[in-house]
């Protein structure tokens, strides 16, 4: 017996009621985690399964769990009836500019808040944090009016430009990280005659790759999945992002559920791939700063 062997080897006596209790506890643990796990998992399964069904199998009762025949052409339909790759390109252009803008602006500002001493610094930092409380609706209306007066509606400028001027969440995140970098390093560099810009580019940035990765990842995720901003600012279909495209598709082809769901799978896939590659960055980013 495995159990007997184990206890013999460890030469500890574990009475059988205790073992039995542990066994039931583990069983109960797996039972509970499994049942709720199904609640999380089945929708995914149903998504992929439905996306592969033929139009006439879609409304079968009882439904087929594993579609037979699996109609892979739904995915072709999804990327051809809607200019999927154009939308993807538009989304990626906006996302990359936002990521670049946030990385540059937030790291510069965070450097000022963490490595340079100037009067009033901590009070201004509190002001930065306070701006997080402001609901976006308050600034959305006048900004829309201003951008429309500047004839910038239906361009990516309103969606991209603000990213080059910092973001309170990411400034906070980077500042906290920069503060953990030992002062001896920057002081030694100062004595050698390095300027703040040298210290920023040669010491702080290279040492902060994990934090910068978090900023890049969440900037990308939020922008890639954002709906309201593009909905307000992008008018013509050739400028749409994937989120707008998917919504527009639903409006036109309500009956074509299978290819609509196929498009959803294709939309979600890049994010899932990103998640698996950057799982650690992702989970630590949420756990340490509460980003959502």
């Amino acid at each position: 017996m495995v159990l007997k062997g184990l206890t013999d080897k460890a030469t500890i006596r574990v009475s059988s009621p205790v073992l039995l209790r542990r066994f039931f506890r583990a069983l109960l643990g797996y039972g509970a985690i499994g049942v709720i796990g199904l609640f999380f998992f089945i929708p995914w399964f149903w998504l992929v399964s439905s996306s592969l069904k033929t139009a006439d199998r879609m409304f079968d009762l009882p439904p087929q769990w594993i579609p037979n025949p699996a109609q892979w052409s739904n995915y072709v339909t999804a990327v051809t009836t809607l200019p999927f790759f154009l939308y993807l390109k538009n989304s990626l252009v906006i996302c990359s500019l936002v990521v670049i803008g946030r990385l540059i602006s937030c790291s510069l500002v965070a450097y000022s808040f963490s490595q340079i001493r100037w009067p009033g610094r901590d009070q201004v930092f509190i002001l930065v944090l306070a701006t997080m409380m402001l609901p976006f609706q308050v600034t959305m209306i006048p900004l829309y009016v201003t951008f429309s007066r500047l004839n910038l509606i239906d361009t990516i400028v309103p969606l991209v430009l603000p990213a080059f001027f910092g973001n309170a969440f990411f400034i906070f995140l980077l500042r906290q990280f920069f503060l953990t970098i030992p002062h001896e390093l920057t002081e030694a560099a100062m004595l050698d005659g390095a300027t703040h810009f040298d210290i920023f580019t040669r010491i702080i940035l290279p040492l902060s790759k994990p934090a910068l990765a978090t900023v890049a990842l969440f900037s990308f995720l939020w922008t890639f999945t954002e709906y309201l901003g593009p909905l307000i600012y992008l008018i013509h279909e050739q400028n749409w992002t994937l989120t707008l495209g998917l919504r527009g598709y639903l409006g036109q082809h309500t009956a074509m559920w299978s290819s609509l769901l196929a498009a959803s799978v294709l939309f979600t896939l890049p994010i899932i791939i990103l998640f698996f590659f950057m799982q650690k960055t992702f989970i630590e980013g949420i756990a340490t700063t509460g980003l959502r």
């Binding site: 583990a26 985690i33 709720i36 796990g37 609640f39 999380f40 929708p43 995914w44 998504l47 439905s50 879609m58 409304f59 079968d60 439904p63 602006s105 510069l108 500002v109 450097y111 000022s112 340079i116 001493r117 100037w118 701006t131 409380m133 402001l134 609901p135 976006f136 609706q137 308050v138 600034t139 209306i141 006048p142 900004l143 829309y144 009016v145 201003t146 429309s148 603000p162 001027f165 910092g166 703040h196 999945t225 709906y227 309201l228 307000i232 998917l246 919504r247 409006g251 559920w257 959803s264 939309f267 979600t268 994010i271 899932i272 998640f275 989970i283 949420i286 340490t288 509460g290 959502r292």
Partner: protein
């Protein structure tokens, strides 16, 4: 002429130089719009007409507007009912994921993955799952002889359906709870076990108080989120109700999904009542401030901080 600065002066100059992006951004994208929207809220303003000062007219109109009160009611439902349910659910999930079991990293991935799904794709998926005739949920309920409701199409069930969907996507709250749970000292549980406490007592008397600061954080971010929620209900209700002209009827079925942000959006972009929308934005800001302050004030009674 070379300008000579003291070391302190030089540091201040550099500090402000590095801060420039934020200063410019704060002035153009925050401070100026805040002042401007405050002004707009007192005017009769549409994009084509010049703004005309009308005093508190927009605010007075809103107080008489039944749709405004409906939007408040629906939003408060999500704040008071939806947010605590999400928090409780995420807490239970975090407890399950914190057990010492083999294969835990697999379960963590399963539990957290839905939270990264784009809201828009998730809303589509759940519309399909909650399809009254052939949807997964009603099919499963049919197997056990229950005739399921029409979910998103039913004004009574639409908000509960939305809450179920939001629970499915609550992975980030779970991660924050999980990080909190891992910070609870093991000695506390060991001591309780010696005293003969069972698992439920350990959760109620140790875990819940020890993670109460995390609960406060999740509660406040959750409340703020519920006040501003837009994409999920917009997607779901715009697809449910398409009127004869093909224009999405926001807030359908029967106004049960008319949330604050949606009504604001409607005033701004569908009715072109920009002054009224700005007044709504300011009321929202004040509501969020009040609710956050009340939550923080009452939290002193139920949050527990380690004294170090």
């Amino acid at each position: 002429m070379k300008l000579r600065l003291s070391r302190r002066g030089h540091e201040t100059l550099m500090g402000i130089l590095f801060l420039t992006p934020w200063i410019l951004g704060f002035l153009t994208f925050q401070l100026f719009p805040i002042v401007q929207s405050f002004y707009i809220s007192f005017t009769n303003f549409s994009l084509v007409r010049a703004p005309r000062w009308i005093g508190f007219f927009n605010y007075a109109q809103l107080l008489k507007d039944t749709n405004f009160w409906l939007a408040i009611k629906n939003t408060l439902y999500m704040t008071i009912v939806g947010t605590p349910i999400q928090l409780l659910f995420a807490f239970v999930c975090a407890l399950l994921l914190n057990q010492k079991l083999k294969g835990q990293s697999f379960f963590r991935t399963i539990y957290i993955l839905p939270s990264i799904m784009p809201s828009i794709a998730a809303a589509l998926l759940w519309l399909w799952i909650f399809n009254p005739q052939v949807g997964l949920v009603n099919t499963l309920l049919g197997y056990i002889g229950i005739d399921g409701p029409t979910w998103f199409l039913d004004p009574i069930w639409s908000k509960p359906s939305l809450i179920i969907m939001l629970c499915w996507m609550s992975g980030s709250i779970t991660i924050i709870y999980l990080a909190g749970l891992q910070g609870v000292p093991v000695e506390l549980y060991e001591a309780a076990e010696i005293e003969g406490a069972n698992w439920l007592q350990k959760i109620i008397y140790i875990t819940v108080p020890m993670v109460s600061p995390v609960t406060l954080f999740n509660l406040i971010t959750g409340l703020i989120y519920s006040f501003q929620m837009f994409t999920e209900p917009y997607m779901v209700s715009a697809s449910v109700g398409v009127s004869g002209s093909g224009v999405p009827e926001l807030g359908s079925p029967q106004g049960s999904m008319l949330f604050y942000s949606i009504y604001l959006f409607q005033n701004m972009f569908a009715f072109n009542r920009i002054g009224k929308a700005a007044a709504m934005a300011w009321i929202l800001f004040i509501l969020i401030l009040i609710v956050t302050l009340i939550t923080l004030r009452t939290s002193r009674r139920w949050t527990h901080y380690e004294i170090r």
